[in-house]
């Protein structure tokens, strides 16, 4: 199949209809999408909703562990999950360069459909624009999402003593993209952690009262999320370096590249701040999940000094984790 995307695929006419019916309906098959007009009428929903949006411009489009389509669906699902919401409905907006391979588009769309099925989420509305060669680098995707807030989840103020849990190895997505973008060959297998985090909602919903905040550490990585928390609540953070789950490979590659895994994007991890008294119990629940077996308590919030993140190493030495100033690696998501 050597077909390519033509300008006419985006004109809203016959070719757009062909694309919708032959490609999108095939992989995003659901009753709501098939009935959609200019917008899609959703079944009525109890309680409150969460609403989020994200655009994806990752380069390369295909990488070990995923592709732009998987990333787009996971990214928006995960933004709902960390808001305490069960992800339900997604929209998808494609902006595609004229001449883009139809075969690659099908791979991307297929991979989006697969994640949706796994997560029990439906893509219910969409839009496709095709622009002339050179006006966009291949394909960009926007996904917006609607979820249903579970068990009245709400963010609660962080206090000194609260513990910080991460649900798995840090920096794997960012490191994988860096290696593939710069075409660096290294020993060992690197794979993005890109994954949908919807199972956490089910497992953690009974503990929402003890969870202060959840966040997926994407752009800017773990360090950036912690800096936001620390600044917002005028608290310090004390991290224990040896407790932060970072694979040997990720550690070594980042050292070689002069990068720091603490600032590298994750696309399948959650940072969870919990009450001290419930930290061990919540950690055990997370560790009992396939996606959480490497979870650790990595540190805690402290009163003094404000706005500063310390990391203590194995020998008791401390260093300060600075705020990210400039992009370590653009087009990571």
């Amino acid at each position: 199949m050597n077909e390519v995307i033509k300008i006419a695929h985006g004109d809203g006419g016959k070719y757009t209809q062909m694309l919708i019916q032959q490609l999108f309906y095939k992989y995003f098959n659901n009753k709501l999408l098939l009935q959609a007009g200019d917008s899609t009428v959703l079944p009525s929903m109890e309680g409150t909703m969460a609403f989020t949006t994200d655009s994806f411009v990752v380069k390369p489009l295909f990488f070990s562990g995923g592709d732009i389509g998987k990333l787009a669906v996971c990214g928006t699902i995960n933004d709902l999950v960390v808001s305490g919401a069960k992800p339900l409905y997604l929209s998808v907006g494609f902006i595609i360069e004229e001449g883009f391979s139809m075969q690659l588009l099908e791979k991307i769309v297929k991979s989006m459909g697969e994640v949706c099925i796994k997560a029990g989420v439906n893509i219910v509305t969409g839009d496709t624009k095709v622009v002339e060669k050179g006006a966009v680098d291949g394909i960009f995707i926007n996904t917006s999402g609607i979820g249903q807030i579970i068990n009245g989840y709400a963010i609660k103020p962080i206090e000194a003593g609260d513990r910080i849990i991460v649900t798995g190895g840090i920096g794997e997505h960012g490191t994988t993209i860096a290696l593939e973008r710069y075409d660096i060959k290294v020993q060992g297998e690197f794979k993005s952690d890109c994954d949908t985090l919807h199972p956490f909602i089910e497992e953690l919903k009974e503990y929402f009262m003890s969870i202060k905040i959840m966040r997926d550490p994407t752009r800017g990585g773990l360090a950036t999320v912690l800096h936001e928390f620390s600044t917002f609540y005028s608290l310090g953070i004390h991290l224990t370096e040896e407790h932060i789950p970072i694979s040997e490979g990720v550690r070594v590659v980042n050292q070689l590249l002069g990068l720091d895994p603490l600032y590298m994007a994750c696309e399948g991890r959650i940072v969870i701040v919990v009450k001290e008294s419930e930290a061990e119990r919540i950690l055990k629940i997370i560790q009992s999940m396939v996606q959480g077996k490497e979870a650790r308590i990595i540190g805690k919030f402290v009163k003094e000094p404000e706005d500063t993140i310390f990391i203590e190493n194995y020998f008791g030495g401390k260093r300060i984790l600075a705020q990210l100033d400039g992009n370590m690696l653009p087009r990571i998501c």
Copy 2:
């Protein structure tokens, strides 16, 4: 102000926060946005919701009657309106080229904010990606929207005899963009019809039982919308040319350019199919509105021949309106 967008404005860190606080919060100021985390929790809503998405890639970014920001907000609001929904919440996803003028970005954001205030809609969640020079042509915007279905509005099957109303002059957006894109100087003032159509919901909600379907004729214009209806319901359409509101300027310019206004995009018009018995009454209501004073009944659905659109001219001659095959003008929205 000669500032430009830098890669760091999209890295999720300090500069992204500056952009959010100094620009987006300024023009999209609302309580829900200010409280937003990875997603935004919406107040609980009665009844059913409509959900829609659209990406905007229009070129030029600024045109007579609007800009890409106004177009993005109006476009998504209007998709909700023609679904019988009161528009409530929008998301916005920016993809911006490194080096893009901060001043132009502010103009775009300001214009989005103004339309939102006018339409009583809030932008409650957003995302900004910055890509390197050449990876995107200036700026692309995605807007997704949520609205509340009013008075149980639902699409009803079109039948022979149903009348077709358009709410105003046809082809003005498409013609304006064509003139500006190709830098064609003509006498007279051309202006996009880009506008938010939310007032129609209030005025028409009591007549929803007599309205079969509403559609905003954007890409592909009036002809494409009518072809979709005609094909879907296997009915013919009979149009009366002299009843189709097309300004003299639009008519002449399209003739000169070898284009047909019936296929040119509108961004502030609605095509409404209504029961024959209520057509005149609904037309009067529409004509009593500022945005509907040029509304006309332009034709009707007929049993025979199926799938064919006839236009009858002043002298009684008939021509067939073909389906759009290929794009008359890409990047129209």
